[in-house]
């Protein structure tokens, strides 16, 4: 269908003083940027140079207005995800859809909401459905650029004197989107068509009033309606506060100054990144890689189609090139294919998330805007999980792959910080923050309900090159890490807390250890019908550790059914209340009834399964990776780890060479001299058991020639080889493989549905996707 211009009475080309359409306006900016290398051709920062105080005054007002609006608006939400964890943000854009400034919060959405605005511009929303003062648009479509459908964006155009002066976007992470699996980051569905409600930049409000058809339709399609509506009000209130703020700034500072600011500040941001790269990094190339498991062949993973029933591995190699001019390029050549699960992403989400990371080291200022993107080249090859180019893909838990892949970028860029002495910025990689406790049913209030416990917002963080990681403290995607209050979670979920404790031995060992995760044991209580599932890494680790540090501990699953706990409570018997300190000791099982059915294994991804009142679910939140050889750890720190229950005795001995005594009260005292002597022995033992790498390569090469590896490993390589001749060539060269060696996916016997035939969203008539990366 071809959209007839002006059929609705909208006139394109009247929103800007220039008379250009929004699309022509944006294209002109892109041309000036490409031609000069400076955003919008701003070779000089005329306004900033001429009136630096005025420039800073506008920035301060805008930034303060954004932060204030977020803080006020989030009090409207009832969802603990928004109100407790701060999963929202508000961002101001110029008329071309480039970010000017943003609030605190989940700032990945600087990019995702900008992509939605650019999509509306590029697809001529100006003509149909029209863009007018008082309009509201809603987007959560991952094919437009969203991360996952649960991130709902409200976008409001800002007019002054009848002309479009900018846009404001507000984002909240809702509890449920009506996907096949309940909870905001669910699995079970394997395609977009089961991934929950999808709203594609739809006009959902006129004259500052939400349209009734949208409100009815959206509530009918999701489970947690009251949270949905209050989140809607949160976003609208924040956007309208910011619109009012910008109007006031225009009146105070003048429309010309504000308009100049809204473009110059982006070039200012671009220059800021270049300056920072030159100040902190080392030019050259860094290569890094990350993986995470997708164990779908297990019987507890129920999916609707046979072709999804396979084990696979996400493969994310990255070559980071820091260029002589201070810009940089991130090339993801060699990534594995997208898949029939909910962990796919798109280039906007992938690259926007990288900014979340970099704001925590490379650009740690309040001046977050689209500028740094213009100093960065991203390459996300088509067909990989970073850029599927297939409109069927599901994205509900895109984070499973995103955070796993980014763990390696932290390591990579940290090598350059370390090289020139900025040890305080080094990050050993961060964890894949999980488990995601999710589920739904009929809750303690008799309502249709769904949950996603955001206790994940406080996992253990990575070690630095001069200090340990923080325990149960943060997650990469939300700079305001918080595990939330037990009392609030118990109001939101029919799950009582049987315990919430630090998780011993979860921080990666090292000279500086990773932060420890924690664990909460939940008992289903007072629900009518209830389901839950697990979502995290188990067979694999996403992080590695850095420069001799170990990765953090991997995940495992514990759930128990038919526990007999109701009877044990009535009889006053012991209950599973504390830690699952050493999972091999099965401590919880000692406090369950004789007929309990326990699942204790490495299967950390499951799909929706029934839980009765009295059943148990262990939510284990992961630790972070370590830095440096553990034998370099200070003796006093090892002692502290033992006395704080951060480290089991067995591993203090094996990893750190610790020699200690323990008194009758359980207090450990290290013997420093004996420990250092034992560490010297361990170094000798390493030399004894180690083999020269080139010698080991011969044995590994033989395994490759014999195709001796698990099916999941082989499938990962086969999918990357198919998508990247370069990766295959480098692999064969490294292992010195015969010229005719190959590993086609066809010979593995794994399902290949979707592997060779793809249909991009851009193949739809009259749909023009916004592409901002090299493909």
């Amino acid at each position: 269908m071809t959209i007839m211009k002006n059929a609705l009475g909208n006139t394109p080309g009247v929103l800007l003083a220039s008379g250009l359409t929004l699309n022509d306006h944006r294209n002109a900016i892109m041309e000036r940027t490409a031609k000069t290398g400076f955003y919008n051709g701003h070779e000089t920062l005329e306004f900033k140079d001429k009136d630096p105080i005025g420039y800073e005054r506008i920035f301060s007002k805008v930034r303060a207005g954004l932060v204030n609006s977020r803080e006020v608006a989030k009090k409207i939400a009832a969802s603990p995800i928004v109100e407790q964890e701060g999963e929202l943000c508000f961002t101001l854009y110029n008329p071309a859809g480039d970010c000017v400034a943003t609030s605190t919060g989940i700032i990945i959405h600087v990019g995702t909401m900008g992509a939605a605005i650019k999509y509306m511009i590029q697809n001529d929303w100006e003509s149909n459905p029209g863009i007018a003062d008082g309009d509201m648009f809603t987007n959560n479509d991952c094919q437009v650029g969203n991360v996952h459908p649960c991130d709902i964006a409200t976008i409001v155009p800002i007019f002054y004197d009848g002309l479009l002066r900018g846009w404001v976007g507000g984002m909240t992470h809702v509890i449920d989107t009506g996907a096949v699996g309940p909870g905001s980051m669910s699995n079970g569905q394997i395609q977009r068509f089961g991934d929950g409600i999808q709203i594609s930049c739809r006009k959902t409000g006129i004259n500052d009033t939400p349209l009734r058809d949208y409100l009815h339709e959206s509530q009918r399609n999701i489970r947690t309606t009251k949270y949905w509506i209050l989140d809607e009000k949160t976003r609208i209130a924040g956007c309208h506060m910011i619109r009012k703020m910008l109007t006031e700034v225009i009146e105070e500072e003048g429309v010309e100054a504000v308009e100049k600011f809204m473009y110059e500040v982006i070039e200012d941001g671009r220059r800021g990144l270049v300056k920072r790269i030159k100040a902190m990094c080392v030019p050259g190339t860094v290569k890094t890689v990350a993986f995470v498991d997708v164990p779908y062949s297990h019987p507890d993973v129920h999916v609707p189609s046979t072709f999804a029933k396979m084990d696979s591995i996400m493969h994310a190699p990255c070559e980071i090139t820091v260029k002589a001019n201070g810009t940089w390029r991130l090339d993801f050549e060699g990534c594995s294919r997208w898949g029939w699960h909910t962990y796919n992403t798109n280039p906007t989400a992938f690259t926007s998330g990288i900014w979340v990371m970099m704001t925590q080291s490379l650009v740690p200022t309040e001046r977050i805007n689209d500028g740094p993107r213009y100093a960065t080249e991203f390459r996300c090859p088509a067909g990989t999980w970073t850029n599927p180019k297939d409109r069927r893909t599901a994205h509900a838990d895109a984070w499973h792959f995103l955070v796993s892949s980014w763990s390696s970028l932290w390591r990579g860029i940290s090598r350059t910080y370390f090289a020139r002495g900025y040890l305080e910025e080094v990050n050993a990689g961060n964890s894949n923050p999980c488990n995601w406790l999710q589920g739904g049913g009929v809750n303690q209030d008799g309502e249709v309900h769904a949950v996603n416990s955001f206790e994940t917002a406080a996992c253990g963080t990575r070690a630095c090159a001069m200090k340990d990681g923080l325990n149960h403290a943060a997650a990469i995607w939300n700079p305001e890490g918080d595990m939330g209050d037990i009392e609030i979670w118990e109001l939101a979920e029919p799950l009582l807390y049987m315990g919430r404790r630090i998780k011993t031995n979860t921080g990666g060992y090292g000279k500086y250890r990773g932060g420890l995760g924690y664990e909460t044991l939940r008992m289903v209580w007072n629900s009518a019908d209830w389901t839950m599932f697990f979502m995290g890494n188990g067979y694999m680790n996403s992080d590695w550790g850095l420069m001799g540090g170990y990765p953090s501990a991997t995940g495992y699953r514990f759930e128990a059914h038919n526990t007999g706990l109701k009877e044990r409570i009535a009889e006053g018997k012991s209950l599973p209340l504390g830690q699952d300190r050493d999972p091999s000791l099965c401590e919880y099982e000692k406090h369950l009834g004789p007929d309990a059915i326990v699942k204790r294994d490495k299967q950390c991804i499951t799909t929706e399964d029934m839980f009765d009142n009295g059943d148990l679910y262990l939510n284990y939140l992961r630790g972070g990776p370590g830095f440096g050889d553990p034998l370099d750890r200070e003796i006093a720190d090892i002692q502290e780890d033992l006395n704080q229950n951060f480290l089991m005795e067995e591993f203090a001995v094996k990893i750190y060479g610790a020699v200690f005594t323990k008194d009758e009260e359980g207090v450990y005292t290290m013997d420093a001299a004996k420990t250092r002597a034992r560490q010297a022995e361990i170094r000798k033992e390493r030399i004894g058991r180690g083999v020269p790498v080139r010698e080991w390569m011969e044995t590994e090469r033989a395994k490759i020639i014999d195709k001796d590896a698990s099916l999941a490993v082989q499938q990962m390589f086969a999918s990357s080889f198919y998508l990247s001749a370069k990766f295959l060539a480098e692999f064969k060269e490294f292992w010195d493989l015969p010229a005719d060696w190959e590993l086609p996916e066809e010979e593995l016997g794994t399902p290949m549905y979707g592997a060779r035939h793809n249909i991009d969203i851009g193949d739809l008539p009259d749909v023009h996707p916004v592409i901002m990366v090299e493909e």
């Binding site: 100040a279 080392v282 030019p283 050259g284 190339t285 860094v286 290569k287 890689v289 993986f291 591995i313 002589a324 740690p364 090598r415 370390f418 090289a419 020139r420 002495g421 040890l423 305080e424 001069m466 031995n505 067979y539 694999m540 680790n541 590695w544 550790g545 001799g548 540090g549 170990y550 990765p551 501990a553 991997t554 495992y556 050493d582 091999s584 204790r600 440096g628 050889d629 034998l631 200070e634 067995e650 094996k654 990893i655 361990i682 390493r686 030399i687 180690g690 083999v691 020269p692 790498v693 080991w696 390569m697 395994k703 490759i704 590896a709 490993v713 390589f717 480098e730 692999f731 490294f734």
Partner: protein
């Protein structure tokens, strides 16, 4: 621009720097003198005379050899891993944790990877046994060549004379 003393940089390397100063280092613009002070501190921590140019790890540096001015990678103990443009790991010792028993030496049961999916590769110095790196890839994965610095540009950025043989 912030400035720090050599003692402060030395304490940073030792991990004993006070938190107030660390916080300053994190929150203020980076100090241009850091590289010079850092190299001086690292140089004092090793017994060899070769000039340290960049740090690759807590005990591993890129140095300009005092013998022939070649740029090589060198362990604190003096062990040489070869030219800086090559992957030092290929000249290290390796120990691969590729079965359940080997993994149980580092993590409790259920808290280590399944070695059908992922292995740990530990890289040791052949002379002193320091563990310079741990990789956690799938089986078959090529050894990672982590960093290949462009030293010529780096010294241009620093506005310092570059070593002769880069």
């Amino acid at each position: 621009m912030s400035t720090y003393t050599k003692k402060q940089v030395s304490d940073l390397v030792k991990g004993t720097l006070d938190w107030d100063t660390v916080h300053l280092m994190l929150s203020m613009p980076k100090d241009e003198a850091r590289y010079k002070l850092y190299m001086e501190v690292l140089q004092e921590n090793v017994s060899y005379d070769d000039k340290i140019l960049l740090a690759v790890g807590p005990h591993l540096n890129i140095v300009e050899s005092s013998k022939d001015q070649e740029i090589i990678i060198k362990c604190d103990c003096g062990h040489e891993f070869g030219h800086y443009s090559k992957n030092w790991k290929l000249n290290a010792l390796i120990y691969v944790r590729d079965n359940v028993e080997k993994m149980k030496e580092v993590y409790p049961e259920l808290m280590a990877p399944d070695t059908n999916w992922q292995v740990y590769r530990e890289y040791y110095c052949p002379s002193c046994g320091i563990m310079h790196d741990v990789e956690a890839p799938t089986p078959w994965y090529p050894v990672m060549h982590d960093i290949q610095p462009d030293l010529k540009t780096f010294f241009e950025w620093l506005d310092m004379p570059a070593p002769a043989k880069i």
